[in-house]
């Protein structure tokens, strides 16, 4: 405690961690237990305290080359070795190779008589000897509290324990001390008073007949840690803690797009399919074709040469292969080529965590690029909704971490409630496709639409989803005033439309003919009028000519008569001149 004072400014940088190697625990604690300090692990009976501490030692010796001392107060060396050998830990071998020292400390209270003062120097000597004999870096004291039952003088014991933890720190070993969970304090004998750097609580409780173990880092002085309760499993390879929420959301992302195996569906997703490493949710009621789309997706991935892992919780692999063959999807060659692997299990086979751990193991072993879970809802029904969601989160986090594209199908139970019930899970998903049954016109038809697709342009339209002998196809559904029409209604609507188009065409042709007819009629009229006009013009010309002739004739006649009347005129004129100018006037004219 006193040591922490001066080095507080950047504790994370200054606090060295000791990796446990236990799956998930290092993630929660941000790298492991505090190096060179004691950590208290407490929990009730059967929580896995001993296992956690033994795994800490074994992994330390095997993976990190840090030898360890196990001081066992409850189980003998032989018992411990046998107990953990089922988890693949070869304690005996490690002891032989001087990587681990097991010291079984046992005092039978009835065989020991106490007389006068004493201390626990013997324990220190033994521990010191064990540590020095192999150069141990890690120490486990399991379960130190057993001493409270063996030694009658609690005052001495407490003083000595305080000294022990101080001594362990001075020795510089990373220690794990296990203790029984107390009724109203962390440990039955208040050990947390002495070990205050890191406290891990283990818990085993039964919920809805399903027992789940939980781990919580109650305290971690000077370091960031996940404070939630995390389920953990004791599997065939030791302990695995499953962080529900990983501490950071910092997956690498890919811009690569991968096809779904259904070209029209790709087209709905901005033309190029899903992002690699994204999580896809496919919801639909029973029989809407979820498995079929999944199988298509799997086949498309396998054709690209990618490994695909298909978790099936409803059908056996052979059944899926047979069923998909009926729509022209040949999955068997993919399985034979080792590109496609099925993992089928009944959901009720074991609890949620066990399923998750099995899936993790399968994924780690097969290293797929695409993972399909069909359906995820079967698994989620096993636990409470928050546990189920937690599990999906963990699975998605895990898959995204490895840039694995994941497709989850989800069985919903009809109605529009489905969108609400899936809302919790959907927030974890990057893309969400909805498959629906449309009932009407005496038939059921499947439709498909993209509810969301993060980071890509996607179609907002409802498409009809057809399943035939040749696979699946997505076609435009008819969307009109009367709603979405599918199946035969869509076909009827199509022919109706065709008839309407034909009628329109005929009408247009008729109109065109009419116009043509009118045009010719008018032209005819025009030519009639023109000929009338021309006839009239001819007449007019004739009349005009006649008029001209008659005028000429009249003039001629006038002239003639004038000429005839000349003398008289001259005479008349002469008389007029003479009257004016004299008698010679008549000569000038």
């Amino acid at each position: 405690m006193r040591n922490n004072g001066p080095k507080s400014p950047t504790p994370a940088a200054l606090l060295p961690k000791c990796p446990t190697g236990i799956q998930g625990l290092d993630e929660i604690t941000g790298g492991g237990l505090p190096r060179g300090r004691p950590t208290l692990v407490c929990g009730g009976a059967g929580c896995g305290k001993t296992l956690l501490s033994v795994e800490f030692l074994v992994r330390g010796a095997v993976q990190f080359d840090e030898p360890g001392v196990l001081m066992a107060f409850e189980e003998t060396e032989a018992e411990l070795t046998a107990n953990v050998s089922s988890l693949g830990f070869d304690l005996a071998g490690l002891v032989e190779r001087k990587k681990v020292v097991i010291d079984y400390v046992h005092i039978e209270r009835s065989e020991v008589q106490e007389s006068g003062e004493y201390d626990l120097e013997g324990l220190f000597v033994r521990l010191n000897h064990a540590i020095d004999s192999i150069g141990a870096k890690r120490v486990v004291l399991d379960t130190l509290e057993a001493l409270f039952a063996s030694l009658p003088n609690e005052a001495i014991l407490r003083a000595e324990l305080r000294r022990l933890f101080r001594w362990l720190k001075d020795k510089g070993v990373t220690a794990v001390i296990t203790a029984e969970r107390g009724r109203d304090q962390l440990t039955r004998h208040g050990l947390e008073e002495y070990v205050s750097d890191c406290v891990i609580l283990l818990d085993h409780r039964v919920n809805d007949q399903i027992a789940t173990r939980h781990l919580r880092v109650a305290k971690y002085r000077g370091a960031l840690h996940g404070t939630n309760e995390f389920p953990f499993l004791i599997g065939a390879e030791g302990l695995s803690v499953l962080p529900i929420t990983s501490l950071g959301l910092n997956h690498k992302v890919s811009n690569e797009r991968i096809a779904t195996g259904i070209p029209r569906l790709d087209a709905m997703l901005g033309g190029r399919g899903f992002f690699r490493g994204s999580s896809i949710l496919l919801t639909g009621t029973a029989g809407t074709g979820k498995t079929i789309i999944s199988a298509n997706f799997a086949q498309a991935a396998c054709r690209r040469g990618e490994r695909t892992l298909f978790f099936s919780f409803e059908e056996s692999p052979n059944q899926i292969i047979r069923n998909m063959l009926s729509i022209g999807l040949r999955l068997e060659p993919m399985v034979k080529r080792g590109l496609l692997r099925f993992h089928s299990a009944r959901p009720s086979l074991y609890g949620l965590e066990m399923h998750l751990a099995t899936m993790f193991k399968e994924i780690a072993a097969f290293q797929p690029q695409v993972v399909i879970v069909d359906p995820i809802t079967s698994l989620m029904d096993l636990g409470t909704s928050s546990e189920g969601k937690g599990m999906v989160t963990r699975l998605i986090d895990y898959l995204k971490g490895g840039q694995v594209t994941s497709l989850f199908t989800s069985l919903t139970h009809g109605g529009h409630v489905l969108q609400q019930s899936e809302a919790g899970m959907s927030s974890l998903m990057d893309s969400w496709l909805l498959l629906e049954d449309f009932e009407g016109n005496g038939e059921r038809n499947r439709v498909l639409y993209v509810l969301k697709a993060r980071g890509m342009k996607h179609s907002n339209q409802v498409r009809e989803f057809l399943i035939s002998d040749h696979g699946v196809d997505v076609v435009d559904a008819y969307i009109g005033a009367s709603g979405v029409l599918t199946g035969s209604a869509r076909a009827a609507q199509n022919s109706l439309e065709k008839a309407a188009v034909l009628a329109n065409q005929q009408e247009a042709a008729r109109l065109k003919r009419e116009v043509e007819r009118k045009r010719t009629a008018i032209e005819r009229q025009i030519s009639g009028l023109r000929s009338d006009y021309e006839a009239e013009a001819v007449e007019l010309r004739r009349i005009a000519e006649q008029v001209g002739t008659s005028t000429l004739m009249l003039t001629t006649q006038r002239a003639e008569s004038g000429r005839l009347r000349q003398a008289d005129a001259n005479v008349a004129a002469g008389t007029r001149d003479r009257a004016k100018h004299g008698p010679n006037g008549s000569r000038s004219s």
């Binding site: 010291d103 400390v105 046992h106 005092i107 065989e111 020991v112 008589q113 106490e114 007389s115 006068g116 003062e117 004493y118 201390d119 626990l120 120097e121 013997g122 324990l123 000597v125 033994r126 010191n128 000897h129 001493l147 063996s150 030694l151």
Partner: protein, 109 residues
């Protein structure tokens, strides 16, 4: 009271003196506790088992590997290796009564 009991013990020894008692005293270095324990043990043995006992003092700082065999935790500890069964007493042996009970040198009751 105590003294009286011891005297009575001396009068009627519980064990045959012919048996050789083997006692081990585990200590760490020559701490006051260790020295007190050795003195007390010696005194009790002299009075009870004169001539038929052997005390081996083991310093765990010099021979730490020996601690495991007799399951030594507390210091000082006396282990009666012989006669069987093995008996263990922890502490500086200042409480003689308890030592006698522990070593089975007086009948219970």
């Amino acid at each position: 009271m105590k003294t009286k009991t011891i005297e009575r013990r001396v009068a009627t020894p519980a064990r045959q003196p012919s048996e050789l008692w083997q006692l081990r005293l585990y200590v760490t270095d020559s701490t006051p506790k260790s020295l007190t324990a050795f003195a007390n043990l010696k005194k009790i043995c002299e009075s009870q088992l004169k001539g038929s006992y052997r005390i081996t003092v083991i310093d765990l700082l010099k021979q730490p590997q020996l601690a495991k065999g007799d399951q030594i935790l507390a210091i000082p500890t006396v282990v009666r290796k012989l006669p069987k069964p093995v008996r263990t007493i922890i502490g500086n042996l200042s409480d003689t009564e308890r030592v006698l009970v522990g070593l089975d040198l007086r009948p219970t009751g």
